[in-house]
Amino acid sequence: MTTEAPEEAEAIDNRPAREPFDLGLGNLSDPRVVRAIELIWLEAQLLDDKDYEVWQTLYTEDAKYVIPVEPNVADFESSLNMVYDDARMRHMRVTRLVQGYSMSAVAAARTSRTISRFTVQEITENTVTLRSAQVLVGFKRDKFQMLGADLTHRIKIAGDDARIDLKVIRLVNSDSAVNASGFLL
């Protein structure tokens, strides 16, 4: 044994220690954040259950539900999206998904999604904006399908009531080929 080894080990570890979890302006134990995460997980379950009629009640009337094509776009209105739904489009979409006349919805994959990696982007007096990662596994006709996405949810909180005011789904493959789907993200 020489005395050099411990010195080397020290040299490797001399990087500054990372800040203890910096989760943005908020903090995961904030009750508003906990409330928002609960809502997001409830949404995930309703979507996997394809319970779209209940799902849409999670949204505020002015809410936007967006799946953009370009990875970094911020101006959704002037860009082409895969989905850019206001209340009217959302209602029509739900009708389409549940009425039984859409062959892709009838034959849609069974899905199971996991949402995690929550970070707090912003907390204001009555909103919480969270980012998270979603992995969705779908199964249809002997084939598995996987979709990964970065999610942004802005949740409006008024007393006991919390609703989604904005949901942006940035698929990791959004600007590449995304297969047609009879389910919602």
Binding site: L80, D175, A177, S181
Partner: protein, 426 residues
Amino acid sequence: MTVPTTDRSGGFAGLAADDRVAARLYTDPEIFDWEMEKIFYSTWVWVAHESEIPDAGSFKMAHVGLQPVVVNRDRKGNFNVLLNRCRHRGASVCEVPKGKANGFTCAYHSWSYSLEGNLRGIPYPDGYEGVIEKKDLSLQKLRVESYNGLIFATFKTDIEPLEEFLGDAKIWIDRFMKQGAGFPVKVQGEHKFRFGGNWKIQLENTTDGYHFPIVHRSWMASVDAETADMLSFMTDEKAVTHALGNGHSVAVMVPEHVDLEEDDGSEELQERFRHIIDELSETMPQEQVRRIVRTMHGAGYNLNLFPNLSLSMSFFRVLRPISVNETEIQHMALGLDGGPESVNRERLRIHEHFQGPFGFGTSDDSEAWDRVQRGAVANPDMPILVNRGLGREETVEEGWKTSHVTDETGMRESYAMWKRMMSDDN
């Protein structure tokens, strides 16, 4: 009328009759390989719209058949279509889907090429002294010609000029571009998706009016009454399909929107565009407002250009064969270059409503095409029928075989071309 069989004594042509084709055309990998050779590498294939490469140095990646190419506009304003393959050891020279560049430098050993594809620089060139001449090692260039903004390329130097190949489809391309309402048409974004089926399934679909009310019932139910009414062409006698020759065909769904410059003033503008009508009326004369709003849904027809492009009402639909049972589709949303922002945004919303992986229409189309491929595996010798409307097909003044828009005249035209090209022995 012969029933196609697996017997190839008649060559590929024996698999396609005038009114039916063997299901094997969707499932046989050997046929697919020959299609690349005899069709995609032997004729004009659409690669880009001019608006996608607007400036000197603008480029985009594309494919001709299975082969990757880069399409660019050089400083002289010429379009170049270059194989995306370095002449040194074969690496791709471009991996950015679209952008602007002065040229292309291979990332492997840094050979660099001009926009025209000429080999400009080789690092440490002394090893090559007396071994190579730079002028012999340009990127392989395809023959390029364009018509009304549409850029096509071909590997063949000896085939007819593009305009001859397009033939009577040119009239319909010109009419299609009138949806710019005085502004040039521009691509304003695209959706890409793949389906598990052969490319010809989608080729057929563009002029298949027959599936519309069935597959798109849920979309029809979601739009306003005026839009639904506009597209209720099933029993409209003026809604027809023409075979235009060379595999091209056109399906007219909204007869009154065939020539958007023809306006007798009788058509009421759709109430759904009220906000736009009001906004434009503040600064524009009424005729111009009318002209723009009447073009909002695009041209009144789908034009199918053999083998890979369709000008589909208000968007471009591009097909790219991946393998015998996989095809990639691009749906490119169109807008008015320099036109009112609100109009372009409205066109994006209309596009999103139907098109794309989560659109109300595309997802159902894609499901139907998947099912064709799955079904066609069952007895691949059993024919696929494209005989609807044979009894009522007639030849109109222009010399175009014509039938109702729900008839399979367009598909028969495509397969006639398929047959001609596949049996061509040169």
